[in-house]
Amino acid sequence: MTAQSTPINEEILLKQTGLLGFFTGSIILLPVISDILKSTSLGGESLITAKVLIFLALFVGLIVSLVKQIKAGKKVDSKNYWFSNFEDELFNHINEKAYKYSWTMSLTTLIVFALYGSSITNETASVNQVCQAIIGVMLFSFGLTILIKLRGNND
Protein backbone atom coordinates (compact mmCIF):
# COMPACT_ATOMS: atom_id res chain seq x y z
CA MET A 1 0.00 0.00 0.00
CA THR A 2 1.40 3.40 -0.91
CA ALA A 3 1.26 6.31 1.50
CA GLN A 4 -1.06 9.23 0.84
CA SER A 5 0.86 12.44 0.10
CA THR A 6 -0.26 15.42 2.13
CA PRO A 7 1.06 18.99 1.71
CA ILE A 8 2.65 18.86 5.18
CA ASN A 9 4.48 15.58 4.45
CA GLU A 10 5.62 16.92 1.09
CA GLU A 11 6.93 20.11 2.71
CA ILE A 12 8.99 18.08 5.20
CA LEU A 13 10.31 15.89 2.38
CA LEU A 14 11.27 18.88 0.24
CA LYS A 15 13.02 20.60 3.16
CA GLN A 16 14.98 17.46 4.04
CA THR A 17 15.88 16.91 0.37
CA GLY A 18 17.19 20.48 0.28
CA LEU A 19 19.24 19.96 3.44
CA LEU A 20 20.57 16.64 2.12
CA GLY A 21 21.67 18.29 -1.14
CA PHE A 22 23.26 21.18 0.77
CA PHE A 23 25.25 18.95 3.17
CA THR A 24 26.29 16.40 0.51
CA GLY A 25 27.34 19.14 -1.90
CA SER A 26 29.30 20.95 0.82
CA ILE A 27 31.15 17.75 1.82
CA ILE A 28 32.08 17.04 -1.80
CA LEU A 29 33.18 20.67 -2.35
CA LEU A 30 35.23 20.86 0.85
CA PRO A 31 38.44 19.21 -0.53
CA VAL A 32 38.15 21.20 -3.76
CA ILE A 33 37.92 24.52 -1.88
CA SER A 34 40.69 23.37 0.47
CA ASP A 35 42.96 22.59 -2.51
CA ILE A 36 42.35 26.07 -3.90
CA LEU A 37 43.06 27.71 -0.50
CA LYS A 38 46.21 25.60 -0.05
CA SER A 39 47.80 27.36 -2.97
CA THR A 40 47.08 30.77 -1.40
CA SER A 41 48.41 32.44 1.77
CA LEU A 42 45.39 31.07 3.67
CA GLY A 43 46.80 27.53 3.63
CA GLY A 44 48.44 26.06 6.75
CA GLU A 45 47.80 24.32 10.09
CA SER A 46 44.65 26.34 10.81
CA LEU A 47 43.20 25.34 7.44
CA ILE A 48 43.52 21.62 8.30
CA THR A 49 41.82 22.13 11.70
CA ALA A 50 39.03 24.18 10.13
CA LYS A 51 38.60 21.57 7.40
CA VAL A 52 38.22 18.74 9.95
CA LEU A 53 35.74 20.72 12.08
CA ILE A 54 33.66 21.77 9.09
CA PHE A 55 33.69 18.21 7.75
CA LEU A 56 32.45 16.80 11.07
CA ALA A 57 29.64 19.37 11.32
CA LEU A 58 28.59 18.74 7.71
CA PHE A 59 28.78 14.96 8.18
CA VAL A 60 26.48 15.08 11.22
CA GLY A 61 24.08 17.29 9.24
CA LEU A 62 24.23 14.85 6.32
CA ILE A 63 23.39 11.80 8.46
CA VAL A 64 20.52 13.59 10.27
CA SER A 65 19.01 14.93 7.03
CA LEU A 66 19.43 11.54 5.30
CA VAL A 67 17.54 9.73 8.08
CA LYS A 68 14.81 12.41 8.12
CA GLN A 69 14.56 12.41 4.31
CA ILE A 70 14.07 8.63 4.18
CA LYS A 71 11.48 8.86 6.98
CA ALA A 72 9.63 11.65 5.15
CA GLY A 73 9.83 9.66 1.91
CA LYS A 74 7.82 6.85 3.49
CA LYS A 75 4.95 9.25 4.16
CA VAL A 76 4.46 10.27 0.53
CA ASP A 77 3.47 8.36 -2.60
CA SER A 78 6.43 6.10 -3.49
CA LYS A 79 6.21 6.85 -7.23
CA ASN A 80 6.33 10.59 -6.53
CA TYR A 81 9.27 10.06 -4.17
CA TRP A 82 11.42 8.17 -6.67
CA PHE A 83 10.52 10.41 -9.62
CA SER A 84 10.95 13.57 -7.53
CA ASN A 85 7.39 14.80 -8.09
CA PHE A 86 5.26 16.75 -5.66
CA GLU A 87 1.49 16.88 -5.72
CA ASP A 88 1.48 20.35 -4.18
CA GLU A 89 1.98 22.86 -6.99
CA LEU A 90 4.24 25.26 -5.11
CA PHE A 91 6.57 22.50 -3.89
CA ASN A 92 6.74 21.01 -7.37
CA HIS A 93 7.55 24.49 -8.71
CA ILE A 94 10.33 24.99 -6.12
CA ASN A 95 11.74 21.52 -6.90
CA GLU A 96 11.82 22.27 -10.63
CA LYS A 97 13.40 25.69 -10.03
CA ALA A 98 16.10 23.98 -7.97
CA TYR A 99 16.86 21.61 -10.86
CA LYS A 100 17.05 24.62 -13.21
CA TYR A 101 19.47 26.57 -10.99
CA SER A 102 21.51 23.43 -10.36
CA TRP A 103 21.89 22.88 -14.12
CA THR A 104 22.90 26.53 -14.68
CA MET A 105 25.46 26.46 -11.86
CA SER A 106 26.94 23.16 -13.10
CA LEU A 107 27.27 24.55 -16.61
CA THR A 108 28.92 27.71 -15.26
CA THR A 109 31.39 25.58 -13.28
CA LEU A 110 32.18 23.53 -16.39
CA ILE A 111 32.80 26.71 -18.40
CA VAL A 112 35.05 28.15 -15.65
CA PHE A 113 37.05 24.90 -15.53
CA ALA A 114 37.25 24.72 -19.31
CA LEU A 115 38.60 28.28 -19.53
CA TYR A 116 40.63 28.75 -16.34
CA GLY A 117 41.06 25.22 -14.90
CA SER A 118 44.84 25.20 -14.78
CA SER A 119 45.19 28.71 -13.33
CA ILE A 120 42.68 28.02 -10.51
CA THR A 121 44.48 24.95 -9.15
CA ASN A 122 48.04 26.01 -10.06
CA GLU A 123 48.48 22.69 -11.85
CA THR A 124 46.23 20.97 -14.35
CA ALA A 125 43.15 19.73 -12.51
CA SER A 126 42.55 15.99 -12.76
CA VAL A 127 39.35 14.58 -14.24
CA ASN A 128 38.40 13.36 -10.74
CA GLN A 129 38.73 16.85 -9.26
CA VAL A 130 36.68 18.42 -12.03
CA CYS A 131 33.94 15.79 -11.65
CA GLN A 132 34.02 16.26 -7.89
CA ALA A 133 33.64 20.03 -8.24
CA ILE A 134 30.74 19.72 -10.68
CA ILE A 135 28.85 17.15 -8.59
CA GLY A 136 29.45 19.28 -5.49
CA VAL A 137 28.20 22.47 -7.15
CA MET A 138 25.24 20.58 -8.61
CA LEU A 139 24.08 19.20 -5.24
CA PHE A 140 24.95 22.34 -3.28
CA SER A 141 23.04 24.68 -5.61
CA PHE A 142 20.09 22.27 -5.78
CA GLY A 143 19.83 22.09 -1.99
CA LEU A 144 20.46 25.77 -1.39
CA THR A 145 17.80 26.83 -3.92
CA ILE A 146 15.18 24.67 -2.19
CA LEU A 147 16.10 26.04 1.24
CA ILE A 148 16.09 29.67 0.07
CA LYS A 149 12.79 29.31 -1.81
CA LEU A 150 11.12 27.53 1.12
CA ARG A 151 12.38 30.16 3.55
CA GLY A 152 11.47 33.02 1.24
CA ASN A 153 7.90 31.78 1.09
CA ASN A 154 7.65 31.40 4.84
CA ASP A 155 5.23 34.09 6.00
Binding site: P7, I8, E11, E89, L90, F91, H93, L150, N153, N154
Partner: protein, 72 residues
Protein backbone atom coordinates in the same frame (compact mmCIF):
# COMPACT_ATOMS: atom_id res chain seq x y z
CA UNK B 1 5.26 46.02 -20.44
CA UNK B 2 4.74 42.91 -18.31
CA UNK B 3 1.42 41.29 -17.55
CA UNK B 4 0.81 39.90 -14.10
CA UNK B 5 -2.01 38.22 -12.26
CA UNK B 6 -3.76 40.32 -9.64
CA UNK B 7 -6.03 38.50 -7.20
CA UNK B 8 -8.63 39.18 -4.54
CA UNK B 9 -8.20 35.98 -2.54
CA UNK B 10 -7.22 37.78 0.68
CA UNK B 11 -10.39 39.90 0.56
CA UNK B 12 -12.66 36.93 -0.17
CA UNK B 13 -10.93 34.97 2.57
CA UNK B 14 -11.35 37.72 5.13
CA UNK B 15 -15.04 38.19 4.13
CA UNK B 16 -15.59 34.48 4.69
CA UNK B 17 -13.47 34.60 7.89
CA UNK B 18 -11.25 31.66 6.97
CA UNK B 19 -7.54 31.39 7.65
CA UNK B 20 -4.95 30.52 5.00
CA UNK B 21 -4.61 27.07 6.60
CA UNK B 22 -8.37 26.42 6.49
CA UNK B 23 -8.52 27.47 2.85
CA UNK B 24 -5.46 25.35 2.06
CA UNK B 25 -7.02 22.29 3.73
CA UNK B 26 -10.31 22.84 1.90
CA UNK B 27 -8.68 22.75 -1.55
CA UNK B 28 -5.91 20.24 -0.64
CA UNK B 29 -2.87 22.46 -1.10
CA UNK B 30 -0.21 23.71 1.32
CA UNK B 31 -0.63 26.93 3.32
CA UNK B 32 2.48 28.22 1.56
CA UNK B 33 0.74 27.80 -1.80
CA UNK B 34 -2.14 29.99 -0.62
CA UNK B 35 0.25 32.53 0.88
CA UNK B 36 2.38 32.83 -2.27
CA UNK B 37 -0.64 32.99 -4.57
CA UNK B 38 -2.20 35.72 -2.41
CA UNK B 39 0.94 37.82 -2.48
CA UNK B 40 1.43 37.27 -6.22
CA UNK B 41 4.75 35.46 -5.86
CA UNK B 42 3.36 32.28 -7.41
CA UNK B 43 0.96 31.97 -10.31
CA UNK B 44 -1.33 28.99 -9.73
CA UNK B 45 -2.56 26.53 -12.34
CA UNK B 46 -6.08 26.65 -13.76
CA UNK B 47 -6.93 23.70 -11.48
CA UNK B 48 -6.13 25.68 -8.32
CA UNK B 49 -7.83 28.80 -9.71
CA UNK B 50 -11.00 26.77 -10.35
CA UNK B 51 -10.82 25.13 -6.91
CA UNK B 52 -10.52 28.57 -5.28
CA UNK B 53 -13.38 29.97 -7.33
CA UNK B 54 -15.54 26.94 -6.45
CA UNK B 55 -14.71 27.33 -2.77
CA UNK B 56 -15.77 30.98 -2.70
CA UNK B 57 -18.71 30.36 -5.05
CA UNK B 58 -17.59 32.96 -7.58
CA UNK B 59 -16.25 32.98 -11.14
CA UNK B 60 -12.48 32.71 -11.69
CA UNK B 61 -12.54 36.21 -13.21
CA UNK B 62 -13.88 37.59 -9.90
CA UNK B 63 -10.83 36.21 -8.10
CA UNK B 64 -8.15 36.86 -10.69
CA UNK B 65 -7.59 39.60 -13.21
CA UNK B 66 -4.83 40.27 -15.67
CA UNK B 67 -3.03 43.54 -14.99
CA UNK B 68 -0.08 45.38 -16.46
CA UNK B 69 2.88 46.29 -14.24
CA UNK B 70 2.50 49.90 -13.13
CA UNK B 71 -1.31 49.65 -12.97
CA UNK B 72 -2.93 50.28 -9.60
Amino acid sequence: MTDFLRNDIARFRSDKKVSQQELADAISVSRKTISTVETGRFTPSVVIALKLANYFGVAVEDLFELAVKGDK
